[in-house]
Amino acid sequence: MSKHHIKEKGQHTMKFIAYLITLFFILAALFPLLWMISSSMKNELSITANPPKWLPSIPQTIQVTLDYTGQGINDADFYEKDAMKAIWFPWKMNSRDLIGAVVIEGVKDGQLLYRAKTAGYSFRYANKFIVPSSLFNADGLDNKLPDIKKQKLSSFKWYGDAAISNEKAISSSDSEIVQHFQEFYQSTEFVKGKPQSLEVSRSFWSIFDSYRTVILMGQAQSSNGPSYLHYFYNSAFVTLASILLQLVIGSLAAYAISFTIRSKKLQLWLTLFFLATLAVPDIVLLVPLYLTMTQLHLVNSLWGVILPHTAWGIVIFLFKGFFDQLPRELMQAAEVDGASDLRKFIQIVLPMSIPIFTVVTVMVFLPVWNEFLWPLVISTGQDNWTITVALNSLQSTTPSNIVMAIGVLSMIPLLIVFATCQKYIEKGASFTGVKG
C-alpha cells in the first residue's frame, strides 16, 4: 500500500503546486501587514518618501555642548530657557532633517552646568504647539516652558551646584544636520551659550518613535481630545464587559432551555425566539436601535455600545448546542439528591463547560474588538470612541506613521488571543458554520 502511495502519479507535482499556491497566498496576505509594520517605524518625512523604502532609515542624535564661560547669571531657570531655545528653535528650522533626539550640555569654566534632552517623538508631537512658526519669539517659548515641563516634552537636569568637570575639545562633525544647527547658533542671538562642540550619533531606538508617541504622549493641546491610549481603554472595557455579560446571560438562558424545560415544544419556541434574530442583519436594525438607545438615554456612552451585544443569537446557539450534548446521568443523580438548579448549574454544568466558555469568549472577543458601525453611530463624543472609530476619524488629521502604529497596537490583543486559542476558534468556526 505504502509503495503504491510513493509511486503514485501526480503526487509530487500536486505537492509542489500546493506549496506554491499556499506560499503565494500567504505572501499576498502578509504583504500589507508587513508594509504597515514598516511604515509605523518611519517618521512623518520618510513615510511619504518616493521611491518607498522597506527598511526605515535610522535617525540621528545631535549632541551640542554650549559654553557659558563669562556668563554672570547662575540661575537654573535662565539656563533651562536657554537650553529649550537651543533645542526647539534650530530643530524647527530644520524639521525636514531626520533627527532622533537633541541633547544639549551646558558648561561653564570647564564644569558641567546642565544636560537637556528632547526626543524626536516629543518634538514631532508638540512642535506645532511649542514653536508655532519659524519666526521665532524668545518670550513665546518662555511662556510655553510650563507646558514643556508638565508634559515632559524635554528633560532638563541641573548640575550647576555639583561641580562635575567636563573638559571637551572644541570639535564639530561635518554632517549636514550639524551644519544646519551650527548655522542657526551663529546667525541668531537667541541662544546665550557659545556652541563648543556638535556631534552626531545614530539613535536606533528612534525608529519606535511612533509607538512612543501613541503610548507616552498625553494631550498636546487641551482641544485635541483624549490621548491615544484612552481609545484602547474604551475598546478593552467594551470588549470585556460584552464578554462577561454574554457569558453570564447566555449560559443561564441556554441552561434553562436545555435542562430545566421539559416540554419539547416550549424548548423549540424559545430557541426559535433567540435564533430568529440571527437572520436580521445589523444594518437593518441600525436606525431603530439607535432610536431605542435615545429613549434609554444611552447614546454617547460606552454602555450604549455594550448592551446590544447581550442579544447575540449565536451565543445561545453555541451554549445550547454544547449543553444538549452533556451526559444527563449526573444531572439526574443530582436531582435525586435534591440539588437546586443553581447548584446543579454551578457545581455540575460549569466545570464540564470550560471549553464552550472559552469558545464563546474568543468568538465574542474578535468581532466586538473589531466592531465599527455600531460604535460609530452610538459613541458620538470623542471621549467614548473605541479604537476602530478613533482610527477612522484620525486617518485624515494624524500622520500616517502614527495611524499605522495604532493599527499595529490594536492587532496585538487579537494576535495574543488568537495564538493562544487557535484550537478553540477552529472549533467555534465549525460550530457556527451555518452563520459563516
Binding site: A253, A279, P281, P288, D341, V403, G436
Partner: protein, 301 residues
C-alpha cells in the same frame, strides 16, 4: 427510558400547576435583552417608516406610505441598489472562490499545516478598519507603494480611490489579498471530514490526486460551499465598514451602497423615517434570502 421520565414529569406538572421559578429567573435577562434590542427595534422600524420622524418630538407626523413612495421613486435608491448588486457580484466573482482553493491545497500540505492556517487567519482577524487604512495608504497616488511597483511594471499611475472606473475594484482588492479567514477553516474541516474510505477506494481505482480533488473532495463539500455562498452573499449585500472607511460612498456616489444610504439618511440628513423605510425594504430582501436559504438546505438534506 427518557420517554417514561418525560411522561412522568408531564403528569406531575399537570397535577401541580406550579410555576417553576428557576427557568423563569434564568431566562428573564436574555428575553428582556432580546425584546429590547432585537424585537422592539424591528417593530419600531416598521412603525417609524410611516412617519416623518421628528427626533425632538417622536414620532412626528404620520405620512402613510410617503417614505416608501419617495424612496422607491428616488433615483438615489435605485442607484444605491445597483451599486450594492455590483459590489456583491464583484465580491463573489473575485473573492468567493479563494478560500475554497486555499483550503483544497492546504489539505495537500502536511508539514506546517497549523502554522499556515494561523498565518491565513492573521489578516482576517485584523480589525477591518486597520486593513482599509493600510490599503488606503498603499493606494496613495503620490507616494503609495502600489503605484510605485506597478510603475516598475509599466502600469499606471492609477488614482485608485479617486478614479470612477477603478474605485470599486480598489475596494474589493484587499479582500482578495486578505483571505476570508474563518471560511478557510470551515472548508478545511469539511475536506478533512470527507471519508478516507472513499478516497482510498478512489486511489485503488487509479484516480490520481488531481482527480480525487475535483471528482471526490469538491462534490463532497458542495453543501458547505452552498451555505457559505448564501452567507457570503448576505454579507456582501450589507457590507458597510470597508466602503465607508475607504470612500464614505464617494467619489460622486460611485460607491454609495444601500447600507451607506441608510446611514447617511439617518445620521447625516436626520431623515429617520426615510432611513427606516429603506431599512424595511432591506429587511424584506433579507427575509427573501433567508426563505431561499431554508428551502435550499431542506432540499440538500
Amino acid at each position: 427510558m427518557e420517554m417514561i421520565m418525560d411522561t412522568k414529569q408531564e403528569k406531575k406538572q399537570k397535577r401541580k400547576f406550579v410555576i417553576r421559578w428557576v427557568p423563569v429567573l434564568f431566562l428573564t435577562p436574555s428575553i428582556i435583552c432580546y425584546l429590547l434590542f432585537k424585537y422592539y427595534p424591528t417593530i419600531r422600524m416598521i412603525y417609524i417608516s410611516f412617519f416623518d420622524y421628528n427626533i425632538g418630538n417622536p414620532p412626528g407626523n404620520f405620512v402613510g406610505l410617503d417614505n416608501f413612495i419617495q424612496t422607491l421613486t428616488a433615483a438615489t435608491f435605485w442607484h444605491a441598489f445597483g451599486v450594492t448588486l455590483v459590489f456583491a457580484l464583484l465580491y463573489l466573482v473575485l473573492t468567493f472562490w479563494i478560500p475554497i482553493v486555499q483550503a483544497l491545497f492546504l489539505n495537500e500540505i502536511h508539514r506546517g499545516n497549523v502554522l499556515f492556517r494561523f498565518i491565513y487567519q492573521i489578516p482576517a482577524i485584523a480589525p477591518g478598519v486597520v486593513t482599509v487604512l493600510i490599503w488606503k495608504f498603499m493606494y496613495n497616488p503620490d507616494y503609495g507603494v502600489l503605484n510605485y511597483y506597478l510603475g516598475k511594471l509599466g502600469l499606471g499611475p492609477y488614482l485608485w480611490l479617486n478614479d470612477l472606473n477603478v474605485v470599486k475594484y480598489a475596494i474589493v482588492l484587499p479582500s482578495v489579498f486578505a483571505s476570508s479567514g474563518i471560511a478557510i477553516l470551515l472548508y478545511f474541516s469539511a475536506i478533512r471530514a470527507v471519508s478516507t474510505e472513499i478516497l482510498e477506494a478512489a486511489k485503488m481505482d487509479g484516480s490520481g490526486p488531481w482527480r480525487r480533488m475535483t471528482a471526490i473532495i469538491l462534490p463532497n463539500i458542495r453543501f458547505i460551499i452552498l451555505i457559505q455562498f448564501i452567507a457570503y452573499l448576505t454579507g456582501a449585500l450589507y457590507t458597510f465598514d470597508n466602503i465607508y472607511v475607504f470612500t464614505q460612498g464617494g467619489p460622486a456616489n460611485e460607491t454609495m451602497v444601500a447600507s451607506i444610504l441608510v446611514y447617511n439618511a439617518a445620521f447625516n440628513e436626520l431623515r429617520f423615517g426615510t432611513a427606516s423605510a429603506i431599512s424595511f425594504l432591506l429587511f424584506i430582501l433579507t427575509a427573501l434570502i433567508t426563505f431561499i436559504q431554508l428551502r435550499l438546505s431542506r432540499e440538500s438534506d
